[in-house]
Symmetry: C2
Subunit: 345 residues, 2 copies
C-alpha cells in the first residue's frame, strides 16, 4: 500500500533501490530480453512491492505518443437533443471498451476540435493520437475543413458522397426503407414521416421511406412529411395538430424513438390508439423502447459494432493506412406499436 505523504516514486528511485542503473530498470519493466532473467525478476518484484508505476507522461513524451484517443460528443446540458441520449451512452460504452482493449485512454470532450477555444485541438496540442467525432450534425462546413487539415480523425454519422474523411455509420436509407416497407406490409397506406430532414442522417431515413413507397407503387404525399427539429415537446404538439387536422393517416414513421413515444402519447390523449388506430415505427431502439406501452417497433443500429469499427478505422489511420468508410446494417425490431403482434410477448 502506498504512503500518501510520500512523493511519487521515480525510476531513479527504483534503480537506486535495486543497485542498478535506470536503463536496466527501464528495460526490465518493459520486458526486454536484453536484461538477465534474474535481475529482471528482482526489479519487477521490487517495483510492484514499492507500488511503482512508470510515469506515462514522461514515457509518452519520449516515445512521441499519447496513447490517448479523444472522443468528441455533442451532449447538450441545457435542452434535450433529438438524437436520443441512451444511444449516446451505449456508444460511449462501446468506444470505451474498444479503446481500452488497445491499451489507450479515452478523453471525452463536448467541445468540437475546430472550436476557437484554446485547448480544443487535442491533436495539435499533443493530447491525443486521434479523434473520434460523433455526429456530423449541422456543422458540416467546420467538420470538412477540420478533416481536410487533419488525418487521424474518424466520424460517426451519415455517409455523404463528397466527404473526404472516414465515416462509420449505419445505412440510414436502408433503415428508413425497412421501417416504411414494414408498415406497408401491414396494409398501411398513408404513412406520415416525422423528423428533421436538415440533419443528414434523418434526410437519408426519409429518402428510404420514399424508396419504400415507390417500390410499393404508392405516390408520395408531401402533406405527410413533417419536417422540424423535433424535441419531445414539439413532437407531441405536431402529433396533436396532425390528429386534430383533417389529414388522413394510418401510420407514423418517426425518425427517433423519442418522437415516436411523444406522438403515441399525443394520439392517446386524443382518443386515437396505437397500434389499433395507427401503426407506429420509431428509430434507434433506445432502452425504454421495449418497455414503453405499447412496446415500440423500431429500427436498431448496431452500436457495439459501430464503436468497434470506429476505433479500428482510427487506429488504421494512425498506423498510416488508408481506410474506407464502414456501413452497418440496421435491423427492424418488431414489437407492439406497429400492430404486427397483438400483445406483449
Amino acid at each position: 500500500m502506498r504512503n500518501n505523504k510520500q512523493e511519487e516514486l521515480t525510476m531513479a528511485d527504483i534503480a537506486r533501490m535495486a543497485g542498478v542503473s535506470e536503463s536496466t530498470v527501464s528495460r526490465a519493466l518493459a520486458g526486454s530480453d536484453l536484461v538477465a532473467e534474474k535481475t529482471r525478476k528482482r526489479i519487477t518484484e521490487l517495483a510492484s512491492a514499492a507500488d511503482y508505476t512508470v510515469n506515462e507522461g514522461a514515457r509518452n513524451l519520449r516515445l512521441k505518443k499519447t496513447k490517448t484517443i479523444e472522443v468528441v460528443i455533442p451532449i447538450e446540458s441545457h435542452h434535450r437533443q433529438h438524437i436520443s441520449e441512451p444511444f449516446f451512452l451505449d456508444l460511449i460504452g462501446a468506444l470505451a471498451d474498444a479503446i481500452a482493449d488497445r491499451n489507450h485512454d479515452m478523453l471525452l470532450s463536448k467541445i468540437p476540435p475546430w472550436s476557437t477555444d484554446k485547448r480544443s485541438n487535442a491533436l495539435v496540442s499533443g493530447r491525443a493520437d486521434g479523434i473520434i467525432i460523433i455526429g456530423q450534425g449541422r456543422r458540416r462546413a467546420e467538420l470538412r475543413e477540420f478533416t481536410r487539415a487533419h488525418r487521424r480523425v474518424v466520424v460517426w454519422g451519415a455517409h455523404i458522397d463528397d466527404e473526404d474523411h472516414a465515416v462509420v455509420g449505419s445505412d440510414n436509407r436502408e433503415g428508413g426503407r425497412l421501417a416504411a416497407s414494414h408498415l406497408l406490409s401491414l396494409g398501411r397506406k398513408r404513412i406520415a414521416f416525422l423528423g428533421d430532414v436538415s440533419l443528414p442522417e434523418i434526410k437519408l431515413r426519409h429518402r428510404g421511406y420514399m424508396d419504400a413507397l415507390k417500390e410499393a407503387g404508392i405516390a408520395v404525399d408531401e402533406e405527410l412529411t413533417f419536417n422540424a427539429p423535433f424535441d419531445s415537446e414539439e413532437a407531441y404538439a405536431t402529433a396533436k395538430a396532425l390528429v386534430e387536422s383533417n389529414i388522413k393517416f394510418d401510420a407514423i414513421f418517426a425518425a427517433s424513438d423519442v418522437i415516436a413515444m411523444s406522438a403515441i402519447a399525443a394520439f392517446r390523449n386524443a382518443g386515437v390508439n396505437a397500434p389499433q388506430d395507427v401503426s407506429v415505427v420509431g428509430y434507434d431502439d433506445i432502452f425504454s423502447a421495449a418497455w414503453y406501452s405499447p412496446a415500440l417497433t423500431t429500427i436498431s443500429q448496431s452500436i457495439h459494432e459501430g464503436g468497434a469499427a470506429l476505433v479500428k478505422s482510427l487506429f488504421a489511420l494512425i498506423e498510416g493506412e488508408t481506410v474506407s468508410s464502414v456501413v452497418l446494417q440496421p435491423k427492424l425490431i418488431v414489437r407492439q406499436s406497429c400492430g404486427a403482434h397483438p400483445t406483449r410477448t
Copy 2:
C-alpha cells in the same frame, strides 16, 4: 491551415522563426509580462499563423501536472444495469462541463482504479491529477481500500457514516420519504416497494419510505417490500406476479423509473391501470419519464449541481484542502402516474 505532411512544430521552431530564444517564446505564449509587449505580440501572431500550439505533454511533465481528471463510471455493455442510463449520461455531461470550465481534460474509464489491470491506476501512473468515481455499488471494500491509500478521490453515491472519503450525492432517504409521503397524501395506504436494497443508495430510499409510513402512523407490511436486483424484465415479472397474487396494494414506489415503467406495463396488461387503479412513483426522472404514458411522477436528483459539486470537491482536495461530503436535496416531480393530476398538462 496546417500542412499534414509536416512534422509537428516545436517551440524551438518558433524561436528560430522569431529570432529569439525558446524561453522568450515560452514566456510570450504564457502571457508573462516579463516580455516586451511588442515582441510578445509578434510571437503570438507568428505562432498562430504557423498554427502552433504548446505540447501539453511536455508542459505537464515539466510542471508535474496532468491537467486531467479521470472519471470512472460503471457502464456495462452486456446487461442493462438498474441505475438508469440517461442518468449517467446527464452526469457525464455535467462533469464534462465542470471539468472543461477549469481547463482540464476528462479521462473516461470503465475500469475501476483498484483493478489489477496494468494501466488502471491513473493517479500512480501520472495520467490524472484526481479521480471521480461514480457509484459505490457493491464494491465497497475495494473502494474503501483505494480511498484510504489515495487522496484526490471523490465518490458519487450514498453517504455512509464510516466512510473516510469525500462523497457527493443526493439525500436518498429524503427522496424515499418524499415519494412515499406523496402517495400517502393521495390517500394511498398499501404502498409496495420495488428495489434492490443491497445497493446503499436503494437501501436509503427504502428507509425513507419506511420513515414516511411511520410518520403517517401506518404499520410497515414486509410483504410489500420486493427486494431484488431488478432489470426491466425482472421488474415486469415481479409486477405481474404481484398483481396476480392476492396481496392487496394501491400504490407502488419504484426505486428507479425503469422499474416503474416496467411495472406499469405489467399492470396494464393485467387490466390494472395507473393511475386509476394504482398510483406509481419512480426515481431518477430519466428523460423518457415525462413522455411515458402515463407521464411518470418521480424523484429528481439534481444532477448538474451534483457534477459541479464533485468537481469542486476534487479540486479542493488537489489543492490540499480538506473537504466534507455534500448532500443534495432531491425533488418530487408530480406528473400523471400517481393520480394527482387527471390528465397531461
